[in-house]
Symmetry: C2
Subunit: 237 residues, 2 copies
DNA sequence: ATTATCTATAGATCTATAGATAATGC
DNA sequence: ATTATCTATAGATCTATAGATAATGC
C-alpha cells in the first residue's frame, strides 16, 4: 500500500518533501503542546500523530528541546515583527500625541486579528505560548522573542503617560500581558463559569474589550502615581 | 546510623509521623510542580527531594494524579473560604452600595496577603496554580475549587455595576484572573524586562496596584456597555 | 550519489506492586 | 498487632543512535 493517503498530493522534489514533513511535525507538536503542555507530550506522541517513525523526530530536530524551540520560533518572529510594525506605524501617525488605548490596540489587536483569522495553527501557538508565559522555564523564551516589541510598547506608553513612574508602567504591562495570555489559553473555564455567555474561542469579543479595559487601568494607576510625584519610592518590604 | 538527621525531632506517635511525612511530601511536590509544572516532575523527583523511597509515594497517594489533587486541594479550600469570608463581610458592610474596587480588594488583596505573609509553601502553591490556570487540563481543577468564590465576586460586581452586560462582567473577570495569576507565577520576566525596577516576589507592589487598575478597567468597560444598552447583542462571528 | 524514512535496539527512566523489615501500639 | 518504610522487581515507556531501505537527483 502507498505510504501516503491518495488524497494528499505527494511532493515531487526532496526539498518540498522535507519542507512539508517539517511543517507537519511542527503542526502536530504545536497542537499537542497547546493541549498538554511541553512535558505532557512525548516525541512518540508527535510522531504517531504525524504518522511517521519516532526516529524522524531526531533526524529533523535532534532532540525534544530543539523541537520545542522550533515550534516556538516558527511563529514568534512573525507575531513580533507584525506588532513592531503596527507600533512603529502608530508612533509615526499619532502626531506625537499617542494614547494608551492606541498603543495597546497596536500591540494587542494586531495579534488578536492574527490569531482569530489565520487558522488553527495560530490559535494553537497562542494557547501554547500562554502556558509558556506562566512557567519559570518558559519565561526565557518569551524574553528572547518578545523583549523588543514589549520595550517598544513601553516606550510609547511612557510618552502617553508623562509623569507616570516606571514601576507603574511595568506593573501595568505585567497585568496586560497576564490578562492577554490568559484569554489566548482558551481553557474553556470562562464558558462554563458564565453559563455560555462568554466563549473562549471568541477572539472578537476579547478584541472589543481588552484594549479599552487595560487603558483605563493604566490611566487610573498613573494618575495616582503622578499625584504622588514621579519619583515615588517603592513601599518598604 | 539514625534514619533521620539528629537536629529534626522524631515524632513519637505513628499518627504524628504519618502527618509529618504527608506534609513533607506535599511540600516537596508543590515546590517541584511550581518550578517545572505537573508533567515536568516525576514521583522519583519528589521522593528523592523528601529523602524517601519512591514506593512511599504510592503508599500515601496511590498515583501521581492523586498526589497532584492532594497538593492542590490542601490549600485551595483555605484560600477559597478566606476569600468567601472577605467577600461576605464586604457585602454586609458596604451598606448596599458596593464598589468595584472594594469587591476586588476583598477578592485579590485577601489572597495577596496570604501569599505574601505565610511562607514559601503558599508562594509555591500560588505559582503552581498560575500554571494550572492557563492549561486546558488544569481548568477543571479551578472550576471545582474556585467557582463559588468567583460567582460570589461576580454577584457583588453586578450590584456595583448596574446596567453592565453579563458578557462585560465575565470578560472583565477573565482579564482580572489572568493578570492576577500571571503575577502569582513569579517567572522573573518582569524583573529582567524592567531592568530591576520591578520584582516578581514583591507582592506588596502588586497589592498596591492591581485592584484599582482592574476596577478602572471594569468601569470603563461597563460605562460603554451601559451607553449601548444593557441587552447588547454579541458581535456576529 | 544524496537524502528521506524506517527497522532494530540500547539504555535510561518511570510507574506500580508484592512482599520484607523495622518501627510504634497495646 | 499495626503501620511506616524499604527492597526487589516487572512492565511500560521514553530518548536516542546505528545502520538499512527506498525514494529522488544527476
Amino acid at each position: 500500500m502507498p505510504r501516503r493517503p491518495a488524497n494528499k498530493h505527494k511532493p515531487r522534489t526532496k526539498a518540498e518533501q522535507r519542507a512539508e514533513t517539517l511543517e507537519r511535525i511542527l503542526d502536530a507538536a504545536e497542537h499537542l503542546f497547546s493541549k498538554h503542555g511541553l512535558n505532557g507530550v512525548t516525541l512518540r506522541d508527535v510522531a504517531q500523530k504525524v504518522g511517521v517513525h519516532t526516529s524522524l523526530m531526531h533526524y529533523y530536530f535532534v532532540d525534544k528541546r530543539r523541537l520545542f524551540e522550533a515550534v516556538f520560533t516558527r511563529r514568534a518572529g512573525i507575531t513580533s515583527s507584525r506588532r513592531l510594525d503596527a507600533l512603529d506605524r502608530y508612533d509615526r501617525e499619532c502626531g506625537g500625541a499617542p494614547t494608551v488605548e492606541g498603543a495597546l490596540r497596536a500591540f494587542l489587536d494586531t495579534d488578536l486579528d492574527l490569531y482569530g483569522n489565520s487558522g488553527e495553527g495560530w490559535k494553537n501557538f497562542a494557547a501554547f505560548a500562554a502556558q509558556v508565559s506562566n512557567s519559570t522555564e518558559g519565561a526565557a523564551m518569551m524574553d528572547l522573542h518578545f523583549d523588543p516589541v514589549v520595550l517598544k510598547l513601553i516606550g510609547i506608553l511612557k510618552k502617553a503617560l508623562p509623569g507616570c513612574s516606571d514601576a507603574d508602567i511595568f506593573w501595568g504591562y505585567d497585568f496586560v500581558t497576564g490578562a492577554f495570555m490568559h484569554t489566548l489559553a482558551r481553557t474553556g473555564r470562562i464558558d462554563r463559569l458564565s453559563g455560555g455567555v462568554c466563549n473562549s474561542d471568541d477572539f472578537a469579543a476579547v478584541k472589543e474589550r481588552i484594549a479599552s479595559f487595560m487603558a483605563a487601568g493604566f490611566i487610573a494607576l498613573c494618575s495616582k502615581s503622578a499625584r504622588q510625584g514621579p519619583a515615588r519610592k517603592k513601599a518598604p518590604r
